[in-house]
């Protein structure tokens, strides 16, 4: 399933986030994969996803500048593809 910025997603319950100086480490207890989230506002967006009806609205609320949205979208799409994020 392709990642859709106009849909709702949330962090998988089996994923834990560990705060790090560069952002956070994400670990998936199911598939045992590790992901480096290397921006603090990316971590903030991920943590807020569940409160929003669309990813776009989470970007808006976190004040993510238009120039960075493509990068963020790519990162979130990759997280969704590896089951770190689930569509709701």
């Amino acid at each position: 399933m392709t990642f859709d910025i106009d849909r709702a997603y949330r962090l998988n319950d089996r994923v834990a986030l560990r705060p790090e100086p560069f952002g956070a480490l994400a670990y998936h207890y199911g598939n045992r994969r590790l992901n480096f989230l290397r921006a603090h506002d990316l971590v903030a967006v991920i943590e807020s996803l569940a409160e929003h009806d669309t990813v776009r609205s989470a970007f808006d609320a976190a004040g993510i500048a238009g120039s960075r949205r493509a990068t963020f979208e790519k990162a979130l799409a990759s997280l969704a593809a590896s089951d770190f994020l689930v569509a709701t």
Partner: protein, 369 residues
């Protein structure tokens, strides 16, 4: 900042925490990096081990690599595995397979978050038993059979690369394939009893090149951070291409001492003990040794080499135990810069590993009588 730079500066908690539960072992492998054999009377008690698990759960260490010694020898081994998994700390444990019978295999097959790694160091009994002791190949294969029969799923077969087994790479891959297992290859380090056998057993230059190309063709073979010194041969191998010691990696030994990595059991690389005030967390976050390892490191003698960015000067433990300065080349530097230094250090006193828990060998026994 790149991801590598982030990791060099150290993380809030290790990614790869190795925990050796006991020095006791029923084998006496000639390359044992912890010189294991006999249990140490000061080993952590069950309650102390549980406290370590509680602490690493709080620090969000997501999984722990358990080894030894032979960890399954500890009477509370299975309890500690359960305790760990129940506290969100996944377990991968290394074993020689001697305790993995049909019943244990069935229990393991039902456990979540438990990963098993069976060690062999040859693709046949003769090659393996030369390093790991008579009968050890048959024991390991019996354990693999039990896991396969119990439908455990994908376990790991772990092999230390030696001069005698590099020629068996394809056979190891076939063996792993036959069991539906994942192959993991690691580097022979001159640590523990390996210090005495490294000169005889470490792969030749030609074998290192062969291994490098074999691994490039097989990105699914696991190597951890074992072979980053080979990156100087061309493109980097998959995996962590830097020395993670004290930055993303560390070792807790059976008596609770915390070392920078599993291959440097020596006072120079001991950062503290989990029994100290502040526990493991304080050692990881505040020890002077680890703070130093997270500082930018000098390229030293390798500064003028064009390959330094690729190989990062190689493995700290390999240098230390062959008598090469830590800012010098790796003893197995692919450009040969380490050779002269190894030869020069061969006559000089070399650092000896820390606590030696080897069982007295029959030869020594006879000598003392």
């Amino acid at each position: 900042m790149s991801l590598t730079d982030d990791m060099k500066a150290g993380l809030q908690a290790p990614i790869c925490l190795t925990w050796e539960l006991t020095y006791a072992c029923n084998l006496q492998c000639v390359h044992c990096l912890s010189s294991s054999g006999r249990r140490d009377p000061r080993e952590l008690t069950t309650a102390e081990a549980e406290a370590v698990i509680d602490e690493i759960q709080r620090m969000q260490v997501f999984y722990v690599n358990i080894g030894g010694g032979e960890p399954t020898i500890r009477p509370d081994f299975w309890h500690l595995i359960d305790y760990s998994v129940d506290h969100d700390v996944g377990v991968k444990f290394s074993t020689n397979g001697s305790r993995i019978d049909a019943r244990v295999a069935r229990e393991l097959a039902g456990a979540d978050y438990v990963d098993i790694q069976i060690s062999i160091d040859g693709a046949d009994a003769a090659t393996n038993d030369h390093v790991r002791g008579e009968g050890s190949f048959a024991t390991a294969l019996a354990a693999m059979d039990h896991l396969a029969e119990a439908d455990f799923g994908e376990f790991k077969i772990s092999v230390v690369m030696t001069r005698h087994n590099v020629g068996q790479l394809d056979q190891f891959a076939d063996l792993a394939h036959r069991y539906g297992a994942q192959l993991r290859l690691t580097r022979f380090r001159p640590s523990g009893r390996g210090a005495a056998t490294w000169h005889e057993l470490h792969p030749s230059d030609q074998q290192q090149r062969r291994l490098y190309h074999w691994l490039l063709d097989r990105p699914d073979v696991l190597t951890g951070d074992s072979f980053f010194h080979l990156s100087a041969l061309g493109e980097a191998l998959p995996g962590l291409n830097l020395c993670g010691a004290g930055r993303v990696v560390c070792l807790v030994d059976p008596v609770g001492d915390v070392y920078a990595c599993p291959f440097v059991l020596h006072d120079d690389f001991k950062a503290g003990n989990v029994r100290d005030e502040g526990g493991f967390e304080r050692v990881w976050r505040s020890s002077k040794l680890f703070a130093g390892l997270r500082e930018p490191q000098s390229a030293g003698a390798c500064a003028s080499c064009g390959e330094f960015d690729a190989c990062q000067g190689g493995c700290m433990a390999a240098k230390f135990f062959t008598g090469i300065p830590l800012d010098g080349p790796d003893p197995e530097c692919v450009n040969g810069y380490g050779k002269e230094l190894v030869a020069a250090a061969a006559g000089a006193p070399r650092p000896l590993a820390g606590a030696d828990h080897s069982r007295p060998s029959p030869v020594k026994f006879l000598g003392r009588r």
